[in-house]
Every structure is written in structure tokens, then in C-alpha cells.
Subunit: 141 residues, 3 copies
Amino acid sequence: MPRQQFQIETGGQGLYEFTDAAADALSDMGAEDGLLTVFTRHTSCSLLIQENADPDVVRDLREFFHRIVPPSDDASMGWVRHRSEGPDDMPAHIKAALTAVSLSIPVDKGRMMLGTWQGLYLFEHRDRPHRRQIVLQFLPG
Amino acid sequence: MPRQQFQIETGGQGLYEFTDAAADALSDMGAEDGLLTVFTRHTSCSLLIQENADPDVVRDLREFFHRIVPPSDDASMGWVRHRSEGPDDMPAHIKAALTAVSLSIPVDKGRMMLGTWQGLYLFEHRDRPHRRQIVLQFLPG
Amino acid sequence: MPRQQFQIETGGQGLYEFTDAAADALSDMGAEDGLLTVFTRHTSCSLLIQENADPDVVRDLREFFHRIVPPSDDASMGWVRHRSEGPDDMPAHIKAALTAVSLSIPVDKGRMMLGTWQGLYLFEHRDRPHRRQIVLQFLPG
């Protein structure tokens, strides 16, 4: 079946590239021409296609999201009600809502049609390490 | 044809879960393995996959978006030009741009491969009640 | 093969509608019922479905994103590290992360199932003109 699942072990907040793992999975599926869908089965991490050349880009992305959605023990976040799972939890849901849980990528002759600088990232929004499930589904077309 | 449409009646701003309605539609379509695309035909509401356990999560999501994009009669929004449809209208377009009009969800044996806490939501950004059209398209794969 | 590529020449920051070009490409592909995926192969522009009736809507969208992510030579952006490509570059990556690199649109009898007010836009986040590559992939279903 043209589907693969794998897990990404995260070490707390940050962006974790998995472009190579996705390319390997496509190859394992025998994909030719079609559409790859990448989906993450969580509500406190998300998916992103972003520049993978200068590591400062993902560092700055993380910093921006931290500034726009600070931890809920920050003075500016007194309005947050969902606090039972820690000060990083509700901000994680918000950051996930601002980004994406799925990516759709055209595939040509078994290769994702990514631009030169595009890489696939899991964006972990929780402080503690997590094991995140990724589903890759290929549809021929 | 592996497509269904339904409407969601909203009662003003907020998140409206339709996970069960989507699952029923999948079943009606006789879906097995493949990809479900959910699409909304509007520019002032959007779609979200988010936690459906604690109702405070969707309440906080709504509050965050209200704070980052206040109504256009708020003092901080004096720069807004598109005002003819009311102070909730341009913020609705902005909130829609910050979230998503479509969701892509792998389907296994007729079931969406959602994580334990993931639910599908329509995010209504207008104050007045609206009838929102949802298109579900299933592609076998 | 049910895929088309074209380029959009942008003249700096702003939203560029390409609904008609996408409709023409669908027609050239002989598309009937199925799913259209639109993908852009860049990390400093993005894709958006938004209202194409009042031009103030896209002007206000651009203004909102400029205010929430100012150029990195703005006093509020002193934390940005990725500066080698100019003050518009890191904000461009952030704005791309806040919007989308792909759109998924159900197609009925060769026509995108867009709502009355929905148009497809390339959102250019760089100051200088760019030639942006768009991939359209149609899957019958």
C-alpha cells in the first residue's frame, strides 16, 4: 500500500528536518508520478516547508513564534484558560493552528518537486522530548 | 462520485467541530484507503484540526486570534480600509489567511487517520450566524 | 501527464491573482472530476485563497502581515539573525510559514469548486521582482 509511517524523536521546541526520511519513504513505496501528502497526528506540533540552507532561518522562525505566542506564564498571556498541561501547552496548540498539520507535494518520477532551498520540517512546540508520528500517503496520478 | 457536500450552521465567531459528520460522509462514500480533502468555499471562515478534549483549547484559540486581529473598530486597527461589511469582516479575512481553507487527511480502511486528540473544526470568523459549505473529496490510493 | 507548471512574474511585495491561469491549466490538462493541488517551489512567497471582489482586502492583508512581521531593520526586529539577504528576507520566510505553500481544491467537471468570492493568489514577500514557479497537479477521483 502506498503509505508509510515513521516517528520523529524531538528534543523539545525547535524545527527538525526530515526531507531525507520522506524521500527514502517515497522510494520504498515505489512512487513514480503523483502527489505526496504528509500528515502529523498531533495538535501540539506541526509541519513546515522552509529554507534548509542557513540554520539561522529555522532558529529565527522558532524565535518569532515564541515572541508572538509566549509561554502562558508570561505576563501577557494571563487570559489563557487551558493550563493543566504546563505553560508550553496552550501556546503549542496556537502555534500548530498558525502553521499546518498536512503538506501536499507533487512528485515527479519518484522525487518530490521541492525548490532548491525547500526542506520538510517537523515543528515541535512542546518543551519536553516527544515521539511524533508522521504519515506519508502517495497517490499516483 | 466520491464527493459529499454539507453545510454547517454557525452561530457567530467560534470553533464548530464536525469530525463525526466527516466520518459519516466518508462512510456514505464507501471510502477505503486513500486521501480525504476537506475544503470550505468561503473567505471569512476557515478549517482547523485541533484538540477536542478540553473545551478551553478552542476557547483559547478563539481568544488568541481575537487578540492578534481585533475588530477593525479597535484603536489599533485604524489602518484597515475594507470596512463596508462591518468591523468583523476584514479581521475575518486575515484570520482565514492565518489558518487554512483545506485539510488533507490520510484514510485507512474508511477511517481518517487522526491522532487521539485531533478533531476537525470549522472556525467561524464572522459575528452573525452563517451557513458554511464544506466539500469532502475522497481519492482512493 | 496531468501536471502543468507556469511562472508568475512579481513586482515586489503584494498579492498576485492567478485564478484564471489555474483554470486555463486545468482545461489544458483535460481535467474532469478530482483534486487540484497547487504548489509553489519557494520559501519566501506563499499561496492564499482569498476574496477577489474588493481590492482593499488584499491591500489590507499585505498591510497586516507587514505589521505583524516588520522588516528586520525595524527596531522591534533586533533579534533576527538571518540578515545576509536584506531586511525583507527573514520576514519573508516568516510570512510564508504563517500562510501556505500548497492549496488543495476539489474539481467538478473541470472547474475548481471555488466559492463566489474565492480567488487564488501568489503572496510575494520579497521587495524585488521575482519569477515564481507554480506547479499544478491534477488527480482524477
